[in-house]
């Protein structure tokens, strides 16, 4: 268990936060129902509703976009002094020798890193591929669920429903999307820059406390 503490800890607090969101989201939904002279809905009906789904997925998609972009941009973009950056002269996809693929793989390298050809190319981009697909899938589900929740509100006010195409061009969809994107981009950008000058002793996300500000690509 000690060897998997990071995954277990974040898995546990994810579940707790999700349960918390379901409980307070249900209470908030019913509060609005009563305010509009509607009847409250049950907990299970709420957590399987598009209202809850859109609220969950709009956050998931932005987190996966953040990591997808971070994985991709740190291949080519560097930041002097940041532990989040590679050394300044390592920008790019690097050599096969640096990446231990094909002829440079050793006996402990993953099988697809040793295989060469298409399999190695696929495996060499597997992290960003999977993260990117999860981002697109969760963004798509946000659009589907968000449209249903939006249209429910439209009908509640005797207004016409939007088609899917109309909805993905609507202010509601882009407001849900961009309010999450901007916070992710701010957090990642500030982490890359603040970690040039600030330290957290013992964290691999920080440089060692005594390392100079201009040292790049060194993790603690």
């Amino acid at each position: 268990m000690r060897n998997h503490g990071l995954g277990l800890f974040f898995g546990a607090i994810f579940l707790l936060a999700m349960i918390g969101q379901a409980i307070v989201g249900h209470a908030d939904f019913n509060h609005l129902q009563v305010a509009h002279h509607g009847d409250p809905v049950g907990f299970w009906r709420y957590v399987t509703s598009s209202d809850f789904g859109a609220d969950v997925l709009e956050n998931w998609q932005s987190e996966y976009l953040q990591f997808t972009l971070y994985i991709l941009t740190t291949v080519w973009l560097v930041q002097r002094g940041s532990p989040e950056s590679k050394p300044l002269d390592s920008a790019g996809r690097e050599s096969d020798e640096d990446q231990k693929v094909g002829a440079f793989a050793d006996e402990r390298s993953p099988r697809w890193a040793r295989a060469g050809g298409l399999r190695t190319r696929i495996y060499s981009n597997s992290l960003v591929t999977v993260m990117g697909l999860i981002w697109l899938a969760s963004w798509g589900v946000q659009a589907v669920a968000g449209r249903v929740a939006y249209n429910a509100n439209q009908l509640d006010h005797q207004q016409a429903a939007l088609t899917f195409v109309q909805y993905v061009g609507s202010s509601d969809f882009w407001n849900r999307t961009l309010q999450n994107w901007q916070s992710e981009f701010l957090a990642v950008g500030s982490m890359a820059v603040l970690s040039i000058y600030l330290r957290q002793r013992g964290s691999p996300e920080s440089k060692p406390v005594g390392v100079p500000h201009d040292a790049t690509g060194i993790e603690g």
């Binding site: 009847d39 509703s49 969760s138 669920a145 249903v148 509640d156």
Partner: protein, 136 residues
Amino acid sequence: MPARLAHVAALGLALALCAGCGGGARTDVRSVSERFLLALGEHDGAAACATLSEQARTQLEDDEGKPCADAVTGLGVQASSVGRVQVYMINAKADLADGDSLFLSDGQDGWRLDAVGCKPQGGKPADEPYDCALEA
């Protein structure tokens, strides 16, 4: 980590699929709408009122100053047939053959009518509320 990601993706997919649920609800909405229209056609005010939400009944009685069963047949809503039905979560709209629409919501008594005799106003219908003979 891959297993957790798979669970996340599966839950997302389930939520997406559930967003499209509502076949049973569409049948219920159509049935309630048809009961209302049939009652109007037969001048059965009590039966028509039974398909209205409590809030709509109260609104009608306040507006007209008489019992719902007497007031509902004077709304000017024609007994037309139900065409397209749209259901989104606990709200629904039934479009009628004569161009009017009915708006419904799902509560503790099942699907009930909140607004009847509704016509789209000029401009984009998604921006402006329909103009209704009765709305709660």
